[in-house]
Amino acid sequence: MSKQITIPFGPQHPVLPEPLHLDLVLEDEKVVDVIPTIGYVHRGLEKLVEKREYTEYVFIAERICGICSFIHSQTYVQGIEQIMGLEIPERTQYLRTIWSEYSRLHSHLLWLGCFADSMGFESVFMNAWRLREHILDDLEATTGGRVIQGVCKVGGVRRDISPEKLDEMVKGLKGIEHQLQDLTNVFLHDSSIQHRLKGIGVLSKEDAYYFGAVGPTARGSGLAIDIRETGYAAFGKINFKPVVEYDGDCYARCAVRAKEMFTSIDIIEQCVKKIPDGPVDMKVTGAPDGEYLSRAEQPRGEVIHYIKGNGKKNLVRHRVRTPTFTNIPPLVTLLKGCELADVPVIVLTIDPCIGCAER
């Protein structure tokens, strides 16, 4: 047996936009053990419920992560509305669906870019981010914010989108669809990318399920787990199928995300067709008394907000279990047995979002 050495990976590392730290135990070039350390971004924001009223806390919930910001606020208010028994207007549900799909598009494009960059594919990185600006422009035009939207509130949303703007948004998405196609073609058919990704970092279906993988990480291993199917917001009234790939390797996870973007565009289109007229918010009085586990599908997978209130303005507990947090055990298994040079690529295929994971 050759000698073992331990290599620290991160927290400040060129391929990582965010601080994640891994201790890689190596035997020659092979990784034999991985010990993750987190906590570089830990703020302890869940404890702020003691200081903020439940209506103000939406802003904190949104800032758990700047990439899935909209969906965090959506999940949080959804939980509060459920506890308080609010029937929020139909139109709001559709608007929330549209925005959450927009955030998925922007997140997936962001990921495709960063991922390409980690493989040294700079031009794809630039192109993905150029397309992403289109999505952000629409988000900004409709919500007022590029990455932190601040548009959700308990009992509805702050802004409505006019019918003309909705049509324009769909037209815009149709306009960039073929560019997206070109971009995803690179990921799905380019031979050097396939060479880097196929058969690397394989996660079996069994492991994915019991180790707690969610989102594209699970769907790349043949598990059809997609919380959107539970029909929260307006997803119950929309036709869509979760994208599932069966190989469980880096390529499969990458393909899931690439194909999901088209599902998102399709969902937005359906929403625009079906969206009813009506108010977008309602008056909310009182305070939540009860507990609920609110779930939603983020770009990275299932997120859970556990909310417990006791009839006071301040909640008793708000706990967030984010997709990256539960994707850490599968990541540890994925890395064992791989080569050192593949580590950055494998780490990025679970789309780690450390801001989320550590809160």
Binding site: I38, G39, H42, I304, R317, R321, I328, P329, P330
Partner: protein, 125 residues
């Protein structure tokens, strides 16, 4: 409106048996979370199968020890280390035990105590 949820209270001794049963039934582990209610700590185990949640709750004191379920679900170690670091509840037999270094916090077991942070001078400038 989403489906209502129920939470079944169980005792500390039952945890491992119930979790094993859940795994046999084909559930995946969704999360383990902790809540402090006055002097008690409620630990919530959540499982999911076909989008149906099964929830178990145990109520313990901080001095109590809870058994680890990482032998059943490998991925449980992240939650158990978290409970240990943030609440100070001892979890026995975690497969990857960070021994309190998972989260590095200024205050030890921040969620088990009341923290008052005086306003910073720079904020009032």
């Amino acid at each position: 409106m989403m489906e209502p949820q129920t939470i079944t209270p169980i005792s500390v001794g039952d945890v491992v048996r119930k979790v094993e049963q859940a795994k046999k039934d084909g559930n995946r582990l969704v999360q383990i979370g902790c809540t402090k209610i006055e002097d008690n700590f409620e630990i919530l185990y959540v499982f999911d199968k076909d989008y149906k949640l099964t929830n178990y709750r145990v109520t313990v004191k901080q001095t109590d020890e809870i058994p680890s379920i990482s032998g059943v679900y490998f991925g449980a170690f992240v939650y158990e280390n978290e409970i240990h670091d943030l609440y100070g509840i001892h979890v026995k037999g975690i497969n990857i035990d960070f021994k309190g270094t998972f989260y590095k916090t200024v205050v030890k077991h921040p969620f088990s105590v009341t923290i008052t942070k005086e306003d910073d001078a720079c904020q009032n400038k």
